[in-house]
């Protein structure tokens, strides 16, 4: 057993809980590596809050599968990172433990919802971190903080022990300073887990090969549509151009389902949230509810007091969208739109190897800038398609606009992680 002392100064509020002295196994591919874990991933013996007051003080009695794998690989888990409450947000401002700031520019948000993980890496506190991605929650903060983040194929990492928000969309993924770090961390956490019925037996054992010769890269026009900052678009176009210099072929294409993807995503995730978050009643975990009063009175007041506004809004939206009379209008149509997104990707991947575009339509927002919920939702337009289809996507830094990082997003077919990681590594090499 080795011991890592973690005494880094957290100027960005990247952590909710810090572990100062961490025991770790001496052998294993990640022996002694300091790794931060997003606070919605269960860690036995260490407080896990999901960024919410409703789980303040909750110490899980078991490890998430990915955490077990990290411990077996020798990693030193040095803390739990801040996040938008229950993963609901694009800025990490909705945490009950205060917002995280962006180490690149402290007047800006780090992106969300894995903003704490991204800031911990960008601020040099850790080399790698786990995030979770439901609609872009790994890729958005990676782009805003100038680091690398991978959203794996749905099911390639286990969700056992990930405190659920939207099961059919979310997954655990690696974040790091470099593509190689992300690849290394992904090797440790990918693979089958019988405790997650959606887990797939596709381990990852790949060494990044920075090679794109002959690769066909699809660039959908919709990824550069309305709302995408022209300066960000130009930076990403220039990055894609670099691939042609390396011998790849760029193919202009279209993705018509994109126009409905965001609405389909928000209907789906709020519906799933309304069901998943019903369990937070103050009875089995977290701060206790008043047991003297009647169930509904105690339950409503407990949730009013301990859930933030965004969580309550999404639970209510989901309850509304699933209610009798509206199910067909919202949930049914959202699933049809989701199928169209999946089919669009299948059609594209019959012709190209990867799809490329910006990760986020703009650079990092200022703290407090996105005060109305719909304008924040609209920022997720470029990341949600990969979640709806369950395909892997990586965000890799591709320069700056006004000194703020811009992310290049590379999307692959199901189980195409190796291919997008190779392409990202090739880009990283020429950019360096």
């Amino acid at each position: 057993m080795g011991i890592v002392t973690f005494d880094a100064e957290d100027r960005w509020n990247a952590f909710v809980t810090v572990c100062r002295n961490v025991e770790h196994q001496d052998d294993g591919p990640l022996a002694g590596v300091r790794i931060a874990v997003k606070d919605n991933i269960s860690t036995a013996g260490t407080q896990t809050t999901c960024g919410s007051a409703i789980l303040k003080g909750y110490v899980p009695p078991y490890d998430a599968h990915v955490v077990t794998l990290l411990r077996e690989a020798g990693a030193a888990i040095v803390g739990k990172t801040n996040m938008d409450e229950f993963g609901m947000g694009t800025t990490t401002e909705s945490s009950a433990y205060g917002p995280t700031t962006n180490p690149v520019d402290m007047s800006r948000v780090p992106g969300g919802s894995s903003g704490g993980s991204a800031a911990a890496i960008a601020g040099g506190l850790v080399d790698m971190a786990l995030g979770t991605d439901t609609g872009g929650s790994i890729r958005c903060p990676a782009a805003f903080c100038g680091i690398v983040g991978l959203k794996p194929t749905y099911g390639r990492t286990s969700r056992y022990g990930l405190i659920a928000y939207a099961n059919s969309l979310e997954g655990v993924g690696p974040m790091g300073r470099t593509v190689r770090d992300v690849s290394r961390l992904f090797s440790a956490i990918a693979g089958h887990d019988p405790r997650d019925a959606t887990s797939l037996d596709r381990p990852y054992d790949h060494t990044p090969t920075p090679e794109v010769k002959g690769l066909r890269i699809g660039v959908p026009a919709e990824f550069f549509g309305k709302g995408v900052d022209p300066a960000v678009a130009a930076q990403v176009r220039a990055a894609i151009e670099r691939f042609t210099e390396l011998g790849a072929e760029v193919v202009e294409c279209t993705m018509p389902s994109m126009q409905y993807a965001l609405a389909a995503y928000y209907v789906t995730c709020t519906c799933e949230a309304s069901s998943n978050l019903a369990r937070f009643d103050g009875v089995r975990y977290g701060p206790g509810a008043d047991t003297i009063r009647s169930w509904h009175d105690a339950y409503q007041d407990h949730r009013k007091e301990h859930f933030g506004a965004e969580v309550r809004r999404r639970i209510m939206l989901g309850a509304f969208a699933l209610s009798a009379g509206y199910y067909g209008k919202y949930y049914g149509k959202a699933q049809a739109a989701r199928k169209n997104v999946r089919e669009d990707f299948a059609r594209l991947f019959a012709d190209v190897d990867i799809v490329a575009g910006p990760t986020m339509p703009t650079t990092a927002f200022r703290l407090g800038e996105k005060s109305d919920p719909l304008s924040m939702y609209l920022a997720d337009i470029l990341t949600v398609p990969a979640n709806l289809a369950g395909v892997p996507a990586i965000s890799v830094p591709c320069g700056t606009v006004d000194n703020l990082p811009v992310g290049l997003q590379l999307i692959g077919p199901h189980f195409g992680e190796e291919r997008i990681i190779d392409a990202a590594a090739a880009f990283e090499e020429v950019r360096a």
Partner: protein
């Protein structure tokens, strides 16, 4: 358009407490978001997308559960080895 009365009703159904000040704000936000969701009206309903899915049930084997003490430790309130909850039947 949803009214404040409807939003208040949803809050009851979802067991989300809501104050009268919040009600107006939530209703405004709800309507903006639902307007945006109306985009989905243009999507053809098509076939149900679940085709091709399979069940992945595990065998129904008895395995050890977590220790009772560990569970009671994380519960809001407990008494005599039971988790204490608000009364459901009045």
């Amino acid at each position: 358009m949803v009214s404040e009365t409807e939003v208040a009703h949803i809050a009851i159904l979802a067991d989300i407490g809501i104050s009268s000040e919040e009600l107006a704000e939530f209703t405004g936000q709800f309507n903006a978001i639902l307007d945006y969701f109306d985009l989905l009206d243009q999507v053809e309903a098509g076939e149900r997308p679940e085709a091709g899915t399979t069940n992945v049930f595990r065998d129904d084997e008895v395995v050890a559960s977590l220790p009772l003490d560990d569970i009671l430790k994380i519960a809001g309130e407990s008494e005599d080895g039971y988790i204490k909850a608000p009364r459901v039947v009045l």
